[in-house]
Symmetry: C2
Subunit: 297 residues, 2 copies
């Protein structure tokens, strides 16, 4: 199961109802975190996700509202006894940042932390489930978007085909479903005899913080679900240009143009206290995120 | 008015009910902050204190649970348009820590930040209201306690004496109360003619994180109100020794020995989920702090 949990949906300064940026992508129970603003570890607790399930953290850029929760989360994982590895991905210099801060607090992490710095264009393999493509965006400092691509999944199990082959329901079904050939009544049965065609995985794009640019088009074109900067309302477009952010309307146009199925708007300026109303437009589901929102894909 | 607000009362890792260490001392509306664990700026919002009222921040030691909210708070003050100075006091190296982190996020503060590093023994003048004495404590890394001493206050206004001198109630009372001589019916009236003897200010001690040591005795001896490390219950004393913390009983004995009036216990290990019961013992008021607790002195 693939689930998006928006942990923090505000920009720049925290408010009582919107924390700094962070979004969790929980995939069959393993969590990938995009950005880690201050108090992200608190938000994770509040929504009852488990810190221990985090496998990878991606930092889009090094502004404080996307970064200042990182050291706290890394040290909490260690204090909680983590011993399995954690992968951290971020812009150049992030390794030095972590090293400096750990040295300063005289802290050690008691688990392996693998740091991967990127400059855009890289594809990182997260194991059997997914890979992440790093894409350059356009903000006031070097900033990157992410395309989280679920890997191809085995086809649906065809029970009728299996019963025609006289395979009894039970563990043999499971082995075939997992792609293993089995021996049955003196012959080898290959998985493709009982499975439909491989199914394409879902792709989730993440574009924070950014103006409309080549990178956002690439992400929109290649994802069914797009999490996008929507710092400002359209009437405040001048602020969006000055801060190098996007407006609600800019994100919506982009998603419509590329046939995105679900658009999650986030990173709202704290100047807006109103409730934004979700809507559907030409087959696009437009979702205004709030802290703690969960969306099963 | 002097008011203590315990913003975070847990140790090491944040829990749903106890955040990392921070305590605000609000003195006639101006706030001095002791320690600044992650999400301290959030706690300040929750208790409806105003960030803009912070004048000074003291960091006791550079463990993450006392420090990781600092950069977020400093940058939020700037984003909120602060232009008045802020004083930051902390152990050696804190200036470099702030400079490195600001450089890394490409951030500037748009208000004057005055950083004072200490090694113990210093007395810092906070202006007309108070001074803070820095005292060395005993923890796993260099750690310092603070004695916040309210300065001597003018004596009580003696209305009878003023009416004997035929001074009419009104603005003249105020000027005398503030220590100014006035001219009335052809003669000079000095404040001491209508004010009682100067009143000694209150002293508040802050001793986190520490084992019992010379410094904690000094703080207890010189304060009416003592905020003290109480990470462990007495039955877990072995953990206190290993982590170089104090137990509830150790803090209470210390306060009793030196005639402290109010003892505020805090920095509780997250292993304890129970509610600790306040009590009085031999004239000592023992107060178990919780996040958001306010105590007017």
């Amino acid at each position: 199961m693939l689930e998006i949990v928006t942990l923090g949906t505000g920009s720049a300064v925290p408010g009582l109802f919107r924390n700094h940026s962070s979004t969790a992508l929980s995939h069959d129970g393993e969590i990938t975190l995009f950005d880690c603003g201050e108090a992200t570890q608190h938000q994770i607790q509040k929504v009852r996700l488990r810190h221990s399930k985090i496998r990878s953290i991606f930092i889009s850029h090094v502004h404080g509202d996307h970064l200042f929760g990182l050291m706290g989360l890394l040290t909490t994982l260690s204090l909680n006894g983590r011993d399995i590895p954690l992968s951290l991905y971020g812009p150049e210099g992030l390794g030095e940042y972590v090293a400096f801060n750990l040295r300063f607090i005289r802290g050690d992490l008691f688990y392996p932390l693998h740091i991967h710095e990127f400059r855009g264009g890289e594809i990182f393999d997260l194991g059997p489930q997914a890979e992440v493509h790093v894409v350059e965006l356009k903000h006031s400092i070097p900033t990157y978007g992410f395309l989280y691509r679920e890997k191809e999944k085995p086809g649906k199990f065809d029970v009728e085909a299996a019963s025609r082959l006289k395979i009894p329901p039970g563990p043999l079904y499971g082995r075939l479903q997992r792609g293993e050939p089995i021996e049955w009544e003196g012959r080898t049965i290959r998985p493709e005899e009982v499975l439909g065609p491989p199914r394409e995985g879902i792709a989730v794009g993440y574009a924070l913080d950014t103006e409309p640019c080549k990178g956002t088009h690439y992400l929109a074109k290649n994802s069914q679900v797009l999490i996008h900067d929507a710092t400002y309302k359209d009437e405040d477009k001048r602020h969006a240009r000055r801060g190098k952010h996007s407006t609600h309307g800019e994100a919506i146009s982009l998603a419509l143009k590329h046939g995105v199925k679900q658009l999650i708007l986030t990173h709202f300026s704290q100047r807006y206290l109103e409730f934004f109303q979700n809507e559907s437009r030409d087959g696009l589901e437009i979702i205004y995120a709030y802290d703690g929102m969960r969306l099963v894909l």
